[in-house]
């Protein structure tokens, strides 16, 4: 496995035009994974009796996090820490910073309470593993190489934003924050030991330790069926998102606008950061997607326990019913186009 996952680098045409973007979006929309997401939304909206057992949802989550972490770890093993640390550090900082500008916007323009603004900021600063996976699939389908250690960025971006967002939501700006507060301790703990982070970071380390030899052993499980498992998972995510569509009214127009413009801004910043830290077009796309994505595995649990007065409807509806569908359908090919042009 080379550092850039696909050897064949398609000579990217110069006249990257709106046509290119539309073609990319269209081909993305016709991939099985996205179509299964749409089927899930339809199942929820039409009130079909299709239901995934909770155990299946947990199992798919465990599988996807473990697989993506492990593959990234093997890539880190091959690329060496030397190549990874700089963009990883930049990614981490980006995650920590996003809540700092998101929070005031939510307070001022969105009129959200301190707790709600902190909670939403935490979700949008943290990242969504499934969005990341969908982006790697998109890159593979168009034969665009990328740094396969990019899932290391995913791993380090989960926690920082949650910690910063919770502190903001606890009133850090008003000087009301107490580090002895049980909620803050909970958030710090969950940010490090929550199952999302534990599986991603753990599998990453395992991959880095066992390297390509380890990969040979478990490839038939962590690689061969991977994309199909993602399709099944997106069917379930479609149902979850579809069931939340009804909450859009409660969430209000501002949140809908925010749920689309935040990823646009963060994604562009992410791509730029990738450019500055020397990532390829594929790598820039992935960093953009990570920045644009909003967490719905790690953040909700940590935030619910540490900012109980925040209404989870806002952050979950924004992350799941607005930003997630936007990113996997339009965001991913869009950030790829931006990365391509900026590299040109």
């Amino acid at each position: 496995m080379p550092i850039l996952e696909l050897e064949r680098i398609d000579s990217v045409t110069d006249k990257s035009s709106l046509m290119d973007l539309l073609t990319a979006i269209q081909s993305n929309l016709l991939s099985p994974a996205i179509l299964f997401f749409v089927l899930g939304v339809f199942a929820a909206v039409s009130k079909s009796d299709l239901k995934f057992p909770e155990a299946l949802y947990s199992t798919l989550t465990i599988y996807l996090l473990t697989a993506i972490g492990f593959k990234g770890g093997v890539a880190v093993h091959q690329a060496g820490i030397g190549a990874v640390w700089l963009p990883a550090l930049a990614a981490m900082l980006l995650g920590a910073l996003i809540p700092l500008w998101t929070y005031p916007v939510l307070r001022k323009a969105g009129k959200f309470s301190v707790a709600d603004a902190g909670a939403i900021a935490a979700h949008y600063g943290s990242v969504s593993a499934v969005t990341f996976i969908a982006a790697t699939n998109f890159l593979k389908s168009i034969h665009q190489p990328y740094e396969s250690y990019a899932s290391a960025f995913l791993a380090v971006m989960e926690s920082p934003a949650i910690i910063v967002g919770v502190m903001l939501g606890k009133g850090a700006l008003g000087g009301k924050l107490s580090l002895r507060d049980a909620g803050v301790r909970h958030a710090l703990r969950d940010a490090v030991l929550g199952k999302g982070v534990l599986l991603l970071v753990g599998a990453l380390i395992i991959g880095a330790l066992s390297g390509p030899a380890g990969m040979t052993m478990v490839e038939g499980f962590f690689v061969t069926p991977f994309q199909g498992v993602l399709a099944l998972f997106l069917l379930e995510m479609g149902m979850v998102a579809g069931r939340r569509l009804g909450d859009l009214k409660k969430a209000g127009l501002f949140l809908v606008l925010f749920g689309i413009s935040a990823p646009l801004l963060h994604g562009t910043v992410g791509v730029l950061l990738g450019l500055w830290t020397g990532l390829s077009i594929g790598g820039c796309t992935l960093l953009g997607v990570l920045a644009a994505s909003a967490s719905y595995i790690a953040a909700p649990a940590a935030v619910r326990l540490s900012l109980p007065e925040a209404n989870p409807t806002y952050s979950l509806t924004g992350a799941l019913a607005i930003t997630f569908p936007f990113n996997i359908t339009i965001g991913v090919p869009l950030f790829f186009e931006i990365a391509k042009r900026l590299h040109a």
């Binding site: 909770e54 949802y57 149902m239 069931r243 719905y296 909700p300 649990a301 326990l305 109980p308 989870p312």
Partner: protein, 110 residues
């Protein structure tokens, strides 16, 4: 009250309270800590779904799943437990709690 209606409890059965708590899964550990502080000697828990004032909780993802926690305890501490639940958790979380009367053979166990 119709005397046939409530059969008189047998001599060997001892009155206890059962407190039932239904809440967001995420709270399980906090509720268990609280039980221990109140003096409960055990508990039983299982995942449930449901709906109430905070909307449907359909348990398809962990974030919207509920847990039901049943605890048998001495009548004296049942209300204290409910009061603590109310003060510390009722306001912020999706949650329902109630107590009922039960009878056991080994009162010292609880």
């Amino acid at each position: 009250m119709n005397p046939n209606f409530n059969t008189p409890p047998a001599m060997n059965l001892h009155p206890m309270k059962r407190v039932t708590i239904i809440c967001e899964s995420i709270l399980e550990d906090r509720v268990l800590e609280l039980l221990q502080e109140t003096g409960a000697q055990g508990h039983t828990a299982f995942p449930v779904r449901g709906g109430g004032h905070q909307g449907e909780r359909c348990a398809d993802i962990t974030e919207t799943a509920n847990v039901q926690i049943d605890v048998i305890l001495k009548p004296a501490i049942a209300e204290a437990l409910l009061q603590r639940l109310q003060t510390e958790l009722f306001a912020d979380y999706a949650m329902v709690a109630y107590e009922s009367d039960v009878r056991v053979l080994r009162p010292d166990k609880f």
